[in-house]
């Protein structure tokens, strides 16, 4: 059984001016533990796809199935990570990480211990009592990752989580996040504009067409890496440039 299945999903938005068709006849499946990137032109419905998966929006057509069950409202197994960290400035780092547990009423000694452990693992153990404004952008995004993983989701939705960071931090954090999520054996769906990031981090890349979005092509990423995986090694793999060029052509960008 697939972890995630989209069956002929369509999504229409209505405004006073008219109707926008964001997704049309969108079908794909994602297996358990897969790391899949969605790329495509701006406004092609990638973020809509994530919102539907998270249960924030209901599709106007078709079915979305997670673990064999149709999505109906917010799914407790799914966690969402946004472009920016959106840490709450009035909460300490630890309290920010505990936010999801607090909302779900799952705050107990074991979950607290897990939050401490996550922060310690990401090198933030000494910053638990700090406030977000005292941390750098990269550290803040790591706190956001800890907040996302504290609720122990199976599926992670990442909506351009590195786009607000400077280039160096972005590269370092991509590697860190890719390694963490591989170790934790999560199913990950990453929306990105960065072709290199998509290839280096994922097992599979889905290319969306122009709006209304549907799958234009489906790439399985197979890189030859000697030794331990890292995004830096992935970028050095001989196949990397070939994937990059074909994806670039697929996107068909004119400026």
């Amino acid at each position: 059984m697939s972890k995630v299945e989209f069956k002929a999903v369509g999504m229409k938005y209505h405004t006073l001016e008219g109707e926008t068709e964001a997704l049309k006849n969108l079908s794909f499946t994602i297996e358990d533990n897969q790391f899949v990137s969605l790329i495509g032109p701006s406004g092609c419905g990638k973020s809509t796809t994530l919102s539907i998966l998270a249960g924030l929006l209901s599709p106007t057509d078709g079915q979305v199935i997670i673990d064999g069950k149709e999505v109906d409202g917010i799914n407790q197994r799914v966690a969402y990570m946004l472009q920016e960290d959106y840490l709450f400035p009035w909460r300490s780092i630890l309290d920010n990480v505990l936010l999801g547990l607090e909302i779900r009423g799952e705050l107990n000694d074991a979950s607290r211990e897990r939050a401490h452990q996550l922060l310690a693992d990401y090198g933030l153990g000494d910053f638990e009592d700090y406030y977000p404004t005292q941390l750098s952008g990269g550290m803040r995004q790591r706190v956001a990752l800890a907040r996302t993983l504290a609720i122990e989701p199976d599926i992670l939705l990442l909506d351009e989580p590195f786009s607000a960071l400077d280039y160096h931090t972005k590269l370092a954090l991509e590697d860190e996040v890719a390694q963490i999520l591989r170790e934790e054996k999560k199913t990950v769906i990453l929306v990105t504009h960065d072709i290199g990031e998509a290839i280096a981090m994922s097992d599979r890349v889905l290319v969306f067409s122009e709006r209304p979005g549907e799958i234009k092509s489906d790439y399985k990423i197979d890189l030859t890496i000697d030794g331990e995986y890292s995004t830096f090694k992935a970028r050095e793999a001989t196949e990397f440039n070939r994937y990059f060029n074909s994806l670039w052509e697929e996107l068909d960008i004119y400026v």
Binding site: A79, Y80, P89, W90, L99, I103, R104, T133
Partner: protein, 276 residues
């Protein structure tokens, strides 16, 4: 001696250059404070001298030493505490009620988009209406006494609270709300954990405006109906042409207004720690 002053001015310096920087900053700060006090001193002395040498008519302007004497006399016979406290009490009750009811109404408007759309023109209208015009109605409804004054104080501040706080609530970062929704938060949790917290600074700005407005409401109320309070003293002093009493009351009112404002600033500093 000079060395001692130099040491105080450059305290905490890491290098001599840093010391010079600290000295400049501190001297500027001292200069500002000194100028503020100097203006006050000049005004008081000029007022006193002008009245003594009959440059201005002391009967219609009063003068500082006479005001000081009036304050001293009022302090001895208990009038000072009685009238000042009456005004502070009425203001605080009106202000607190206005803040609480205003917050509740703003929350209800945020909660229901439909409600806010329905009430929008009425709130705009009430905001534009000079609340003083409702004074006589309040007196008839609430009686000729403290309740009418508190009613006036509340009326003047509540609409501004509703508008400022509701606008703040409405502008809450949508992505933070989205984040909470993905975590499975209900409307109440969204309100408590993001909307209210993010808007604490806005709420305090509204409170700072309203403590002053409530005082205006109280004084206007006291002008219309009262047997005590600073507003009463001002009207009474005016009627019997005792300008020293009027000036004294105005000066006490200045101090009260300042104290009430700083009470809110103090509360804000205690509650909003993360901004420092």
């Amino acid at each position: 001696m000079f060395k001692f002053i130099e040491r105080i001015l450059t305290k905490g310096a890491v290098t001599t250059e840093h010391g010079q920087y600290l000295k400049r900053v501190k001297l500027k700060k001292i200069g500002v404070k000194f100028s503020q006090l100097a203006i006050l001193a000049v005004v008081i002395i000029a007022w006193e001298l002008a009245a003594r040498y009959k440059v201005i008519d002391p009967f219609i302007t009063s003068y500082p030493t006479q005001i000081a004497k009036t304050i001293y006399k009022m302090a001895l016979n208990g009038e000072l505490v009685k009238h000042t406290w009456t005004t502070i009490y009425e203001t605080l009750v009106g202000f607190t009620l206005g803040a609480i009811v205003g917050l509740i109404v703003a929350t209800a408007l945020w909660w229901s988009d439909y409600l806010s759309k329905v009430f929008e023109p009425y709130i705009v209208l009430l905001n534009a209406l000079p609340k003083m015009a409702l004074g006589p109605i309040l007196i008839i409804w609430l009686g000729n006494g403290v309740s009418a004054i508190i009613g006036m104080s509340l009326l003047v501040s509540i609409i501004v609270t509703i508008m400022m706080v509701y606008n703040g609530f409405k502008e809450t970062d949508n992505n933070k709300i989205k984040l909470l929704r993905t975590l499975g938060a209900n409307q109440f949790q969204i309100f408590k954990k993001v909307v209210l917290m993010e808007n604490l600074p806005t709420i305090f700005s509204a409170l700072k405006v309203n403590i002053g407005l409530s005082l205006v409401g109280t004084i206007v109320g006291e002008f219309l109906v009262s047997k005590a309070g600073l507003g009463y003293l001002i009207v009474y002093g005016g009627q019997v042409f005792k300008l020293s009493l009027v000036m004294t009351s105005v000066i006490i009112l200045c101090v009260v207004a300042g104290l009430l404002y700083y009470l809110i600033v103090w509360l804000e500093k205690r509650l909003i720690k993360w901004e420092n």
